[in-house]
């Protein structure tokens, strides 16, 4: 193997060095690293905004920021975290892992891959620059509901254009992922032999190319309503603002599965590795993922039960939403069954995965509560909703990304992180994430509305607890950055197969994974 690699290195010694290496790179591993570092940066920018929100909400009354700026923070925090932190993190993992997992030399469309990434810094520079406008950044919430979003300041066309760019980047990335998986698998690797992470990403990529163009359409209509005199959503011209909510959530609900399906794939990879057993029910995992993806297109109106729908509509969307609990339940069952009588060990990636299963399920249950139409009239637009989606996105999606980074870091760098510090990071993160978000259930049920800078005094105690938790959570992530840099400074010591129970083609490569791998496809039985 190693002579093989030296030979390959000689062939490719013409690449530029320094900054130009990163700007012109078409290597899937370089681009994967770019995505992951970019995502980490955005995670801290979005997190800083969350801390501004939590600082203001530490006590009732207005202390730190004016309400207008508070609204800009809630809007930007969501946009940055969804489009800047989570989606690029998953695309980065896909870039690093997919070619290695299916035995391909690179992604199918390397130049397009470079372009997909380099769109992002421009899009986010434009988005963030709106905060320095005289009229401020977007303040209508990430959902951009009209008429409010049509009445905002000058930031609106900039936000829409940056969302168009982000959508283009995601669509290009998704096309690349599908083209790679469908055409570049090693001989012998049939679809039903693919690693589960590859399956979840294949389905996610289909969701992306089906959903992102709908978002592009919706925001283009907003743009023409505001500047070109159309009346899709302006009631003055016979339009209907509720139509926007329908189109937006037709994109929006598949979008939330775009944020969680790759996380399912990561957990389904890590749990078997540290249980030293094969994944229980591989086939049912694939079918469950596909069912969740299909169902995601017929449940959108559960985000808008209170908008005024006929009874038949409310019942239809209630039942289809509840139906999603079935394939999701299959997944949770399979994870638990994989661990059953396994010889488990509890390294950092496994700890994050176990916390994922428990805490994501809490978020799933509060989702079921929200699915019940009559109950939703009480919960709608309260902090209960905030608690729900933060439980599925923070100890859900973000925990999965952190677990994946710890799990594959030795493969990427050839260096092992400090296990003790990793465990400290896990416990701090898990304790603080619950201190932050669990009290939000209580204030939500008691009636505290979301997206407000001030609140009634009876909500003070729980808000103080949540704010303390948020600052603890934020500071714990600095430890994560420290662990990453400390790992990078170590000498190369990691074994090719860094984890005893790890399975998959990536572990047959040396650690760190060579710049070019699988120029000759491996054979899969």
């Amino acid at each position: 193997m190693s002579t093989n690699i030296d030979h390959i290195k000689e062939e490719h010694h013409h690449q530029p060095s320094g900054l130009m290496r990163w700007i012109t790179t078409t290597n899937h591993k370089d681009i994967g690293s770019l995505y992951l570092w970019f995502s980490l940066l955005m995670f801290f920018i979005g997190g800083f905004m969350a801390l501004i929100i939590r600082a203001e909400l530490f006590q009732p009354g207005l202390q730190l920021v004016v309400p207008g700026f508070f609204n800009q923070m809630t809007t930007m925090h969501a946009l940055i975290m969804i489009f800047g932190a989570l989606m690029p993190a998953f695309v980065g993992l896909a870039n690093w892992q997919l070619p290695m997992m299916i035995g391909a030399p690179d992604m199918a469309l390397p130049r397009l891959n470079n372009w997909s990434f380099w769109i992002l810094p421009f899009a986010f520079t434009m988005l963030l620059s709106t905060l320095f406008f005289e009229s401020g950044g977007p303040a209508a919430g990430w959902t951009l509901y009209p008429p409010l979003s049509l009445q905002g300041g000058n930031s609106m066309p900039f936000v829409i254009f940056s969302l168009h760019l982000l959508g283009a980047s995601s669509i290009l990335g998704a096309i690349n992922v599908i083209a790679t998986i469908l055409n570049m698998r090693a001989p012998g690797m049939t679809l039903m032999k693919m690693p589960i992470f590859v399956w979840t990403w294949l389905i996610t990529a289909f969701l992306l190319i089906a959903a992102m163009p709908v978002l592009a359409g919706a925001i283009t209509m907003l743009l023409t309503d505001r500047f070109y005199g159309t009346s899709f959503f302006t009631a003055a011209g016979g339009g209907d603002p509720v139509l926007f909510q329908h189109i937006f959530w037709f994109f929006g609900h598949p979008e939330v599965y775009i944020l969680i399906l790759p996380a399912f794939g990561i957990i389904s990879t890590i749990i078997p590795a540290f249980s030293r057993k094969k994944l229980f029910g591989y086939d049912s995992m694939v079918y469950a993922t596909a069912s969740i993806a299909l169902l995601s297109f017929i449940v959108w109106a559960h985000h808008m039960f209170t908008v005024g729908m006929p009874l038949a509509g409310e019942i239809f969307f209630m039942f289809t939403t509840m139906l999603i609990a079935v394939p999701t339940g299959v997944k949770v069952f399979n994870w638990v069954a994989t661990m059953w009588r396994g010889s488990m060990t509890f390294e950092t990636p496994m700890l994050f995965s176990l916390a994922f299963i428990i805490l994501f399920t809490i978020g799933g249950f509060s989702g079921l509560m929200l699915a019940i139409t009559p109950a939703d009239f009480q919960y709608h637009d309260t902090y209960f909703v905030v608690a729900h989606f933060h439980y599925v996105l923070v100890p859900g999606a973000i925990f999965a990304v952190i677990a994946a980074v710890y799990y594959w870091l030795p493969k990427w760098t050839g260096k092992m992180y400090n296990e003790t510090l990793g465990k400290v990071h896990f416990w701090m993160t898990t304790v603080f994430v619950n201190i932050t978000f669990f009290p939000m259930h209580f204030v939500g049920l008691a009636g505290m509305p979301r997206r407000i800078p001030d609140y009634a005094v009876q909500f003070t105690d729980f808000n103080m607890i949540a704010s303390i938790g948020a600052f603890g959570f934020g500071l714990s992530q600095l430890l994560f950055v420290y662990i990453l840099f400390q790992t990078l400074r170590q000498p190369v010591t990691a074994a090719d197969k860094s984890w005893e129970g790890a399975e998959g083609l990536e572990w047959t490569l040396p650690s760190p994974a060579p710049y070019h791998s699988f120029d000759t496809p491996p054979k899969v039985d």
């Binding site: 096309i175 009631a235 139509l243 329908h246």
Partner: protein
């Protein structure tokens, strides 16, 4: 690599189709609302159908008004409640006053609650079919002629007719410039 090309072509078609679908949702939504009577949209052009037979049945119609975006307008119904016979045409009007110092162009958007009865509320004549021009300080009566269809189900309470008045001066002035 031929298969990669065909994958890309197919996927690009999906992207274009889904973008088109987002626009197709607009007429789909309108048709869906019309069939189900959702969102209380009333007829947008005058009812010119055959005469409706009178029925010995009475129903209360309530009139309400809104002014969008705090436009400088006074806009209120002349009468806030009418008890009408089903099948018989009635006349009423709203009063609008321009409280600003310049000429304004306005348009009204109607809505009936409960939404599913909107289709039985037929407007023969309505100021909402046209835009209005109102001079500074001018007071205008804006008339409506309507009839309640005798297909109206029997087990219903009151019907509320609401108008929201929009100031569209900027749009009209910009369109004139072009």
């Amino acid at each position: 690599m031929k298969s990669v090309k065909s994958t890309i072509t197919k996927l690009s078609l999906v992207v274009v189709a889904m973008y088109g679908f987002s626009y197709a949702l607009v007429p789909i939504y309108d048709t869906f609302c019309e069939i189900t009577g959702l969102n209380g949209k009333t007829n947008e052009v005058a009812y010119t159908g055959s005469d409706i037979e009178k029925e010995n049945r009475f129903i209360k119609i309530k009139f309400i008004s809104n002014v969008a975006n705090s436009a400088p307008l006074y806009f209120e119904p002349a009468v806030t409640e009418m008890t009408v016979q089903v099948g018989k045409p009635y006349n009423t009007h709203y009063v609008m006053k321009n409280n600003s110092t310049k000429q304004l162009h306005t348009t009204a958007s109607p809505s009936v609650t409960p939404g599913k009865f909107a289709e039985y509320f037929k407007k023969i004549e309505c100021f909402c079919f046209n835009q209005q021009t109102i001079d500074s300080g001018e007071i205008k009566d804006l008339g409506i002629q309507f009839v309640v269809d005798n297909d109206l189900p029997t087990n219903i309470g009151d019907i509320v007719l609401s108008y929201t008045m929009f100031d569209i001066t900027n749009k009209v002035v910009e369109a004139d410039k072009l």
